[in-house]
Symmetry: D2
Subunit: 337 residues, 4 copies
Amino acid sequence: MIIVMKHNATQAEVATVIAQVETVGLQARPIIGEERTVVAVVGDERPVETEHFELLDGVERVLRILHPFKLASRDFYADDSQVKINGVSVGGNRVVVMAGPCSVESREQLMETAAAVKEAGAHILRGGAFKPRTSPYAFQGLGLKGLELLREARDAYRLPIITEVVSPQDVTLVAQYTDILQIGARNMQNYALLHAIGETNKPILLKRGMMSTIEELLMAAEYILSHGNSRVMLCERGIRTFETATRNTFDINAIPVLKSLTHLPVIADPSHGTGKWELVTPVARAAIAAGADGVIVEVHPNPARAMSDGAQSLKPEKFAALVSEIRRIAEAMGRSV
Amino acid sequence: MIIVMKHNATQAEVATVIAQVETVGLQARPIIGEERTVVAVVGDERPVETEHFELLDGVERVLRILHPFKLASRDFYADDSQVKINGVSVGGNRVVVMAGPCSVESREQLMETAAAVKEAGAHILRGGAFKPRTSPYAFQGLGLKGLELLREARDAYRLPIITEVVSPQDVTLVAQYTDILQIGARNMQNYALLHAIGETNKPILLKRGMMSTIEELLMAAEYILSHGNSRVMLCERGIRTFETATRNTFDINAIPVLKSLTHLPVIADPSHGTGKWELVTPVARAAIAAGADGVIVEVHPNPARAMSDGAQSLKPEKFAALVSEIRRIAEAMGRSV
Amino acid sequence: MIIVMKHNATQAEVATVIAQVETVGLQARPIIGEERTVVAVVGDERPVETEHFELLDGVERVLRILHPFKLASRDFYADDSQVKINGVSVGGNRVVVMAGPCSVESREQLMETAAAVKEAGAHILRGGAFKPRTSPYAFQGLGLKGLELLREARDAYRLPIITEVVSPQDVTLVAQYTDILQIGARNMQNYALLHAIGETNKPILLKRGMMSTIEELLMAAEYILSHGNSRVMLCERGIRTFETATRNTFDINAIPVLKSLTHLPVIADPSHGTGKWELVTPVARAAIAAGADGVIVEVHPNPARAMSDGAQSLKPEKFAALVSEIRRIAEAMGRSV
Amino acid sequence: MIIVMKHNATQAEVATVIAQVETVGLQARPIIGEERTVVAVVGDERPVETEHFELLDGVERVLRILHPFKLASRDFYADDSQVKINGVSVGGNRVVVMAGPCSVESREQLMETAAAVKEAGAHILRGGAFKPRTSPYAFQGLGLKGLELLREARDAYRLPIITEVVSPQDVTLVAQYTDILQIGARNMQNYALLHAIGETNKPILLKRGMMSTIEELLMAAEYILSHGNSRVMLCERGIRTFETATRNTFDINAIPVLKSLTHLPVIADPSHGTGKWELVTPVARAAIAAGADGVIVEVHPNPARAMSDGAQSLKPEKFAALVSEIRRIAEAMGRSV
């Protein structure tokens, strides 16, 4: 932590700052510059609020030196973590493909989609049973019935499944059905929920909030890790910007930034990251080229009849083309699909 | 709903669109323009997904005509709603002041603050017991003990209280202690939580998400209203932008926009809206001048020792000055404090 | 400047950093922490690129301590600067009102507007002759003819005038006609233009770019000041955010932030800051309540026929109401209009 | 254009709207819905301001149907445009690589870089002579001397060159030296400059403003095209968002969006798009995988000594690796480098 004093701070004010640093168990190293005095703080700054110094007289601002996350950091674990799910390994050389409908709508729709994505080469089946929707008047998901259908599809097509959990009290139930628990973008900072899933040992796919920085995503992962669950995968799914031509702006920079800051696997969601089916395949290719460990893609046999996210869902034949295109990119990167 | 066809759409494609409109129970009115055909849709478009048309061949895009919210709209209720809390009325001529510490930290800290804000003219006491914090290593609030202290302060100073609830399973408990349930910015789209509070009849202060649009705030209110609870107050608390000089950008435009779109009362939170105590009073004045029905402000007897949000907390004497300044602005607006 | 070393940086790497600091004429103060070594740099860091250190082996990042602007800073000049324009003083106790049409369209339109704004109490007449427009197919302004009409209105109504200049080669010409040169938001970082106006001694109204930070606004002012022209006024006119309910988001926080960082006067433009005439008056009131030194407002006798910016233009009678409303706010602030 | 009436609009108000539509030479088609009447407008809406209707009594809002750009649109020209520069064709099957230093600093620096990028396989040499810099105290470029050095390098290494022009009065001069005129992000809406280059027949690289939408980029291109110069290339170089981990957020979605909306070639600038040299290669790969027609990359023999943009400059050996990596991606896409 670096405490920058105002240009007219007095010696007494500097002395008070130094005393306060020592009060919280850290050491102070004042440096007298030409225009400003700064006080460098030595010790573990993470548990200390910057306000303890910022609000003292004569202080202009306080800069943190350390990243606030620890367990998620490459400093903590230098290799790539791999998350294993029933034989599928995420975070290794093989690029992982997760695919399926936004919402589970019916037995027929789910089975038809599961068959198609399996055939096209997907490794994991996605599908929503509990749906967070912007409008209270929109379809809210099939709930338990959806979980049962997912389980049936899982067993029929031997595909591990991933589905979203939206409330702490549902965690135990959903965990009985699914192989991976998904935390949606709107819940990335739902700490009660992060706490609850942190106490399971299920693999987690944690989606970046549309309004969240990369550091905040890693802090949300830190919540899960610090509650004991180390099987965390991160997901870039687009952020909100001023651009209105697309639903979100897929943050391609976040892929290599995350790969350098953390050991956790990084998955790309080009369906939400663009919001338009025509853009899903090019952005999926881009994500793999940038170093993502996998993609999660929405597929629907009849997008125009989908009860949610139809605009960004691929038909099965388009999805098959996507898989073969990202395979070529993965191979150019020395990986496989 | 207006369906814009591509400039080279065929007659057959237009016919298919018209048939699909009729299938969902609405009426189609095609208009043949010089460069484009558009199909105007007559009927209640709210329950219909735009994708049902967007994905048909020959369609370029689909525009909604109606606001997606209904119960929150001024079209639904033209007057100003007032929310009454133990004799305090929010949304009327009197500007309401809510104040107190970010977190309840101790009996002494809370009582001292309650006494000070009461003395300065506050109408409602705020204080956090369950704290959503970005870091798992930061202070998480006193929980139930915090609720009990708030109750004690409430009774000692005869001030209604407001505190945040962060999880659906806590709603019943928190509602037993507090006069107003606060939904924090990070939970604005936590639908399980909105559902749970919508089934109480407690007054709600719903904070705008830091990256939520005004329309999304009104849709979140609609969730609560549609579950039967009409005692909703909205709160502008700053949005996330590219500007880094302040913690958030207080969206002053949102105040008159909300007052024109909805009948619900609008409260301003200049503490989170700026993140710096020096800016709280000028932005509080601005919010009242723009038409806000009240303010909610963080006050702490010793901000440099606060366990959360110290940087944006006012000392009691600064808070007293804030109240007298917004009183002068309110009077210039023909209102009182 | 603070140079943060990586957690595994070697002593040799630290030594190289120290040598490089000394090479550029500054002094290095290494501080060995528990997890990181940091090197504090003593001396004037402003002319030094951070990359000179950032790219050395073992360096994690480099933090600047000083604001990059000097002449615009309150550290440089502690009082409020006042800019005097033909008897009107901007930056003192009196709140200044600038008003007029977005574009000068005709003699009749300009004279009618000038008469109305004078009557309502405006101090300065605005009007555009050279118009930067998003579309090449839109009205581009009357050019020289517009300048002549402005001059005529200026003399007829004894109102100093302000108009925009968009190109360095036009500066001499426009300066012959106008009392204040306006730099539009899209040109805030047009350095050739800033250079050219910096060499005049005309008062300048420098508008903040719609996606420029407060610091960048002050750096643009620094360009003008450093070329010798000290008569600079800043203008907050709204920034671009994700919110689409309004054309821009008026950054109310910027008013008190600027008043604390700089001695230059701060003007608010609620017309561009909102983009909707219904919001102009509430946001004008808010800006004055936040401490702005004046407002600039678009007024048109028949907004529905305006050749630009009609949606945000006030009719003369609405403008008269605005002036009386901000007068009441100014008086509540101990100022006058 | 679709004019949406308020829900309580009167028949007389609708009649006035219809009359106004006809006044501007268009045709009105009113549609009476359940909650709203809308008036569809038939004819070329582009030259008509929406305010002409928006401000009439009873109107809620006005929606445009057509894109505001014409010459830049795929509707206007369905194939891919190719821009030819001394034997290099941009926009065809071959992916084009432009590389060189941010600023021309000296003869040695430029020649060394030119030799290296030529050797690595670059097709075009970039280098800045006139530099727009945020700080007036930073290096502003060598000016004419820089142009002469670029010309020398061009002839020595037989590489076409690209350099930025920042002011309308410099266009003639810079055009005498360079093969491609670059318009920087800060000047994307400098209409005087767009006008001036639109009257040359030099190839243009138009960079997207960091605050500009895709539509605004296309409107800026439209300015150049409508002044007669059709040799325009677009450049995505990152936009400004709330994320602070990178200098800008490279908008990968913009690549396929632009390729679908316009026939003009699209170049990616991963140096500015990320601001960090470690991220340049992964994002360059991603851009090619998303369909970009080329990249422009900053290369410097000694980035730590660069007078500008050192942090995002590649050393020659890293650049050579970048070229071989994007070659593999291009081949996976069925293209070559």
